[in-house]
């Protein structure tokens, strides 16, 4: 009796898997090389902002909800994380979790109200709520108003990893970014993510198929808020302070810009957009308000000329699904 051996297939991955794998390896390589070619603290901040943009993209790219006030989650978590680490003396990972919890709670309340309306109204409502949170942060005693929370201790992660050492802090931040990124990836490639995309494409149809659309939207909103909070609280540990900038309207606008520029609804678009926008702000800082003018011009150019964004256009040009 002879055993028939099946031929091994020539390729073990589908095209999509190959494209996604290569793109991920490129990003991983950049994260490894990053601190050797640029100032490590700058790269860490960039990772936090990139995670923030990924969280934002989860809403606009996959549910079609444009939140124009996402800085409220970044900023609130940054304040709560900084407060927990400094005043309560919590370890950094617990402080970050406190920040995430605060952003999730805020996302639950504002999301429950905002998802009652759609499209541009949703955008306007999120603008209004974030402005309200901004004024709250100006007035509330624990945020210290204009001064912000300063000299936040970095402490020891899990009681033993000394985060005041830049190399260890970098590994810690990179790990958090990858965890957040993986959550986004898993979400959009899950049955839950498919339903979100169905809502984006045709909401009445999703309703007629029996899905409770409002619950899915709210779940996506809270998830996005939590991830934005993860980014904000981590950033507070990295830069050792929390300030009004993170909760301001301009930050909300910047994350929209990053995602639009990088490519809405693409997995890597927000990361690319964050790299471009943060670098631009850093290296063009000497030009003052011209940066705002350039950002506005990029907005206009993106909307008029390339709505797919950098990653979307490149993906289309080389025929990759990334």
């Amino acid at each position: 009796m002879s055993v028939k051996i099946l031929p091994v297939p020539a390729t073990r991955f589908t095209r999509e898997e190959r494209d996604a794998g290569v793109a991920f390896l490129v990003m991983l390589a950049l994260i490894v090389v990053g601190p050797f070619v640029a100032y490590p603290f700058f790269v860490m901040q960039m990772l936090c902002i990139a995670l923030f943009a990924c969280a934002f993209n989860l809403l606009i790219g996959y549910v079609g909800l444009l939140s124009f006030g996402h800085a409220m989650f970044l900023g609130m978590a940054s304040y709560v994380g900084a407060h927990a680490a400094k005043v309560w003396g919590l370890e950094p990972e617990l402080a970050i979790l406190c920040g995430v919890a605060s952003a999730a709670a805020l996302g639950l309340v504002t999301g429950a109200l905002a998802i009652r309306s759609q499209g541009i109204y949703f955008a306007m409502i999120t603008v209004a709520f974030s402005q309200m949170i901004y004024f709250f942060c100006v007035e509330a005693p624990f945020t210290h108003g204009e001064d912000g929370i300063q000299s936040v201790p970095q402490g020891f992660a899990f009681g033993l990893i000394d985060l005041s050492k830049p190399s260890l802090l970098y590994v810690f931040v990179a790990a958090i970014f990858l965890v957040g990124f993986f959550v986004v990836y898993r979400t959009i490639n899950s049955p839950f993510g498919e339903i979100l995309k169905a809502i984006r494409e045709n909401e009445p149809r999703a309703i007629s198929l029996g899905y409770r659309v409002a619950r899915y939207k709210l779940a996506a909103f809270v998830l996005s808020a939590s991830l934005a909070g993860l980014a904000g609280a981590t950033k507070a540990i990295v830069v050792q302070n929390a300030s009004l900038t993170d909760v301001s309207f301009s930050t909300s606008g910047e994350v929209v810009l990053m995602t639009l520029l990088g490519g809405m609804g693409t997995l890597y678009g927000p990361v690319v957009g964050a790299i471009v926008v943060v670098s631009m702000e850093n290296y063009l800082a000497q030009f003052g308000q011209w940066v705002t003018v350039i950002q506005g011009a990029i907005f206009v150019a993106c909307v008029l000329l390339f709505r797919r964004g950098i990653v979307g256009e490149i993906g289309k040009a080389i025929g990759w699904s990334i």
Partner: protein, 297 residues
């Protein structure tokens, strides 16, 4: 006595007056937003920027061309409105028919460009603009002193708001406008130049914002950031009133200004947030806004 601390009547009237003034600006701005939205289906994020440009236009007219306040009151909205019309023709027109969100993103980008340019040249500080000599001084109303200029702003804004309402709801031109909002193709078939109407509508909405800017110049100084500060409140006003109704946006604007003023008297800490809290409550009870029809989509 109220809430444990004494409120003096002059203070109450004073804040009511400031509330009415701010309400005038909210009403003019949300009215312009509603008019533009009705015709173009665009939420004009650049509205605050045009409000600021209106105030700067008055400032430039005075200092560079020697045009006084009354001249600026006519010329500034015309100039800024024309700039808006050009922007509609060259930029906004290209995204007609796309998802509404692109209009929001495009006008947000324009707002950044405009605001950034002004901040470059004028920094963050305010430039003074004098109250016109005819409106200086105050008059005694018996219970309070009313500065003449502030009284003028309230009365004039109310007149402009009413005139706009009348134009849109009661005249033939307004009927064309409303018809073109409902069904542009059919209205074009009747031989009416709808694209021109869209351009003029955008210009008109922008001119209203610029007019509010001119009115604000002598009260709040002329600052590059003045538009960015007010736009979030105006959005909240629009959400509360509902986009569907012209009269609704006017009434909501004035009412919220007054409520904000009263909050400054009774609970000053919340004066910046009260409008947003009201918005949250309205969204809970009437998601389509107080004067809106149907669902907000």
């Amino acid at each position: 006595m109220f809430l444990g601390h004494a409120i003096s009547m002059p203070q109450l009237y004073g804040q009511l007056l400031i509330g009415l003034i701010n309400g005038s600006f909210y009403a003019l701005l949300s009215l312009g937003l509603a008019v533009i939205f009705g015709m173009l289906n665009i939420v004009n994020f650049a509205h605050g920027a045009f409000y600021m440009v209106g105030a700067f236009a008055a400032y430039f007219l005075l200092h560079l061309a020697g045009v006084n306040y009354w001249g600026a009151l006519v010329l500034a909205p015309l100039i800024v409105g024309a700039i808006g019309a050009i922007m509609e023709r060259t930029l906004l027109k290209r995204i007609a028919g796309l998802d509404h969100l692109y209009g929001l993103l495009l006008t947000f980008g324009l707002a950044l460009v405009i605001q950034g340019l002004f901040q470059n040249y004028f920094g963050a500080s305010g430039l003074p603009y004098p109250i016109p000599p005819e409106l200086q001084g105050a008059r005694n109303l018996g219970f309070m002193f009313l500065p003449n200029y502030r009284g003028w702003v309230i009365v004039f804004s109310a007149v402009v708001c009413f005139a706009t309402w009348f134009l849109i709801e009661k005249t033939r031109l307004g009927a064309y406008l409303r018809a073109a909002t409902e069904n542009p193709t059919l209205v074009r078939a009747f031989g009416i130049n709808v694209p021109l109407m869209i351009t003029l509508t955008y210009g008109f909405g922008v001119a209203l914002a610029a007019l509010a800017g001119v009115l604000a110049a002598p009260i709040n100084q002329v600052r590059p950031g003045m538009g960015a500060d007010i736009i979030a409140v105006v959005f909240a006003v629009v959400v509360i009133g509902g986009m569907g109704s012209i009269l609704g946006s006017i009434l909501t604007g004035f009412a919220l200004g007054v409520i904000e003023g009263l909050t400054k008297v009774f609970y000053p800490e919340a004066s910046n947030t009260v409008v947003f809290v009201i918005m949250a409550i309205v969204l809970l009870i009437r998601p389509s806004g107080l004067f809106g029809r149907g669902r907000l989509t």
